[in-house]
């Protein structure tokens, strides 16, 4: 990343935190102003809505221009390759220019041009490989594409700092590894190595804030890869082996391996949860919660403890009760904190969180439209939300 960009990012981070202090009433306006003066950030930083709007319209404009040139030049793959490369180069140059300008760096445009630049570069590679391989993408071409994708997204992350690019690089590398012989073992080993390496960089002061965020994304990707490799359902159904290039017959897993995998399906989420609690990193804790939920679903797949409705109701009740117990314990603890955890919002914007909460609730719990329900009268109907749609 450019030194200027890193400095701007650091200042922006401090100013954002100071905004939280002010919102929570810990500091007054003059103090916040003094902090802003101590950490000057020349960048214009619009809110998320502006950034998404800018990025979306820019993407539409670039894609339309790309389509126009591709049609104008002709339908040959070579022409399309050239247009892709030209547009990719244009996007990369534009990203560099935008990133260098404090007025334009954080307005959503730079992120989109970077994304399209790498995407178009990979498209050019796909077109080239299609052309050289007699208009057919073979296994070698896919491998080459995944390696190129890993390198390109990793380089983009390093240069421009977006954690999304880190996620895309991790996805590409694991897809590539999954295609190799012993892909499952490679997912396990590389995933563990990625966690170990990235976790060491989470608090590295010399790294830019966005690079540290990228490291956090890699930790989650590594944990996900390890879990996917050891999960008993994934092993039993040969989910990772489906990616292997030349897939010979799939021998059934041995009993010992199955038992080992079943044990790991239980242990890995608990280990991640324990790490999250011990390190007090909420993203690790959240990952552990998601993995624990996946392990419970896996358990339900193999062991029918009770009917589905019982499992759902009991699981729901347990979650609600657990959340209430934790909240009450934290609220009643001295200074509302226990082992370094609190249920207080600290400096987060509660109002914004409440506003954001409306969307998933409405999306999940809104009933089906009246017109969508033919035959309600006398022929049964439906009700529910959040997957609870049922017919009587």
């Amino acid at each position: 990343m450019r030194a200027d960009s890193v400095a701007w990012e650091r200042a922006a981070e401090v100013r954002e935190v100071a905004g939280g202090w002010r919102r929570a009433g810990f500091i007054d306006e003059p103090t916040e102003q003094a902090i802003r003066e101590a950490f000057p950030d020349p960048c214009v930083t619009p809110s998320l809505v502006w950034r998404v709007l800018t990025a979306g319209v820019l993407a539409a404009a670039i894609k339309a221009a790309f389509g126009a040139f591709a049609i104008a030049i002709g339908r040959s793959p070579t022409a399309a390759e050239i247009v892709s490369l030209l547009f990719a180069a244009g996007c990369v140059v534009a990203t560099e220019r935008l990133e260098a300008s404090p007025r334009l760096a954080r307005r959503g445009a730079a992120g989109m041009t970077a994304l399209l630049g790498v995407g178009l570069l990979l498209l050019a590679l796909v077109l080239f490989l299609t052309e050289t391989a007699s208009r057919r993408i073979d296994d070698h071409a896919i491998d080459l594409l995944l390696i190129a994708s890993t390198l390109a997204w990793a380089a983009a992350c390093w240069r421009w700092g977006s954690p999304v690019f880190a996620a895309l690089a991790a996805l590409s590398v694991f897809l590539f590894l999954g295609r190799l012989p012993h892909g499952r073992l490679l997912w396990l080993l590389v995933g563990a190595a990625l966690v170990a390496l990235a976790a060491r960089r989470l608090d590295t002061a010399s790294w830019a804030p966005s690079h540290r965020l990228g490291a956090a994304v890699l930790v989650v990707a590594g944990i996900g890869a390890v879990y996917a490799a050891v999960n008993v359902f994934s092993l039993d159904e040969h989910l990772l082996e489906e990616m292997v290039r030349h897939s010979p017959g799939r021998p059934p897993s041995s009993r010992g391996l199955f038992a080992l995998s079943a044990g790991a399906t239980t242990v890995v989420p608990l280990a991640v949860l324990a790490w999250g609690v011990r390190s007090r990193r909420t993203f690790v804790l959240d990952t552990g919660i998601v993995l624990a939920a996946l392990s419970l679903v896996t358990l339900r797949h193999y062991v029918h403890l009770a009917p589905l409705w019982t499992v759902l109701i009991v699981a729901g009740a347990v979650l609600v009760i657990a959340a209430l117990v934790v909240e009450r314990a934290l609220r009643r603890a001295p200074a509302h904190e226990l082992a370094g955890f609190t249920a207080e919002p600290l400096f987060s914007d509660e109002r914004r969180q409440h506003a954001l909460q409306v969307v998933p609730v409405v999306a999940a719990f809104t009933p089906a439209a009246a017109a969508d329900r033919p035959g309600f009268a006398g022929e049964g109907g439906k009700f529910g939300g959040g997957g609870a749609t049922e017919k009587f």
Binding site: L53, A323, D372, A377
Partner: protein, 324 residues
């Protein structure tokens, strides 16, 4: 630890900008010696409510014969009442202003109670056909209950649910679970426009009368989604009357953009811009419909995009200047 923030705190403390007390507290948070798990608690509560309501749905569907309709409706009704009893006991007094939730679980227990009540009403309607051929009115009833609950217990989440349920009553689904309904059917489009206009009106009234003024965003966003969505659908899908739809769309989108600039609301501005942009893209492509693949409309669309970007940049600058 966040090294940048931790370093900044030390620097600000040394410079006398931060007092010792707050600086020590901020430093603990920056070094992760104190971490908030409020988001995690909320997420668990949300997931719990989702699973509980899903479980009740499956139970009713699979075992209604064994349990019997009376027992089922009574059981769900009792569970709903239990939730409401807890909510009433914990609730703070009513106010026309914003009221903080008494605790983090409040919104979710309220939501659970309302969802169980809605499920119960639907079940009773199906089993006992209380409303007969006018069964769809049970959705209106549910929406009214949600609306009353949203006002009484000051919940924007429940208000959002009320508005989407009211839309469902008029045949428009904006649910992810059931799939958003297409509003290319003319009567549905009219319903969406009328409802959208009503919601936008309610947003304006909320602010003007000072009655739950903080509900404005929920009302207005739901209203604009319906109103502009219906107009865009008319401009894109109606092969006969699309010019009329487009004209109305451009007028309404322009009005939304102008008002959003005056009010300083970026989200309304974005909704207006996107709707207007889609309408203009339709206009650009129309003359080339019969000429096969042509680069001209694409090039014009790209130029339009550049123009829209310039509008966005200008609007952002103006909004910032207005905010001072």
């Amino acid at each position: 630890m966040n090294p940048d923030v931790a370093g900044a705190i030390a620097r600000l403390k040394a410079a006398g900008v931060l007092a010792d007390g707050p600086a020590a507290f901020f430093d603990r948070v920056a070094r992760r010696q104190l971490v908030s798990v409020r988001f995690e608690i909320r997420a668990l509560l949300y997931a719990g409510v989702l699973l509980l309501t899903s479980g009740v749905g499956v139970l009713v569907a699979e075992h209604q014969q064994q349990i019997g309709p009376l027992a089922i409706s009574a059981g769900i009704g009792l569970a709903s009442l239990a939730c409401f009893a807890w909510v009433i006991r914990k609730a703070t007094p009513f106010s026309w202003g914003a009221v903080d939730s008494p605790n983090v679980a409040f919104d979710y227990v309220l939501l659970l109670g309302l969802l169980l009540l809605a499920a119960d009403l639907a079940y009773v309607e199906v089993q006992f056909t209380v409303l007969g051929p006018r069964w769809t009115y049970h959705l209106l009833l549910v929406a009214v209950v949600y609306l009353a609950a949203a006002y009484r217990w000051d919940s924007r989440t429940v208000l959002g649910l009320a508005l989407s349920t009211l839309a469902a009553w008029r045949g428009i689904s904006i649910s992810l679970v059931h799939g958003a309904s297409s509003i290319d059917d003319p009567p549905l489009r009219v319903n969406a426009i009328v409802l959208g206009a009503l919601y936008v009106g309610a947003a304006a009234l909320s602010v003007r009368l000072g009655r739950k003024a903080h509900f404005e965003e929920v009302y207005a966003n739901a209203g604009l989604l319906l109103l502009l969505g219906a107009l865009v659908s008319g401009a894109l899908d109606d092969w006969v009357a699309w010019p009329a739809w487009l004209l109305v769309l451009l007028i309404v989108a322009g009005l939304v953009v102008w008002l959003s600039l005056r009010l300083g609301r970026p989200l309304y501005f974005a909704e207006g811009v996107v709707a207007g942009y889609l309408g203009l893209v339709r206009l650009i492509f129309e003359p080339f419909q019969s000429s096969g693949a042509s680069s001209i409309p694409l090039l014009l669309s790209a130029l339009l995009g550049v123009g829209v970007l310039a509008v966005i940049a200008t609007a952002y600058r103006r909004m910032r200047e207005r905010e001072g």
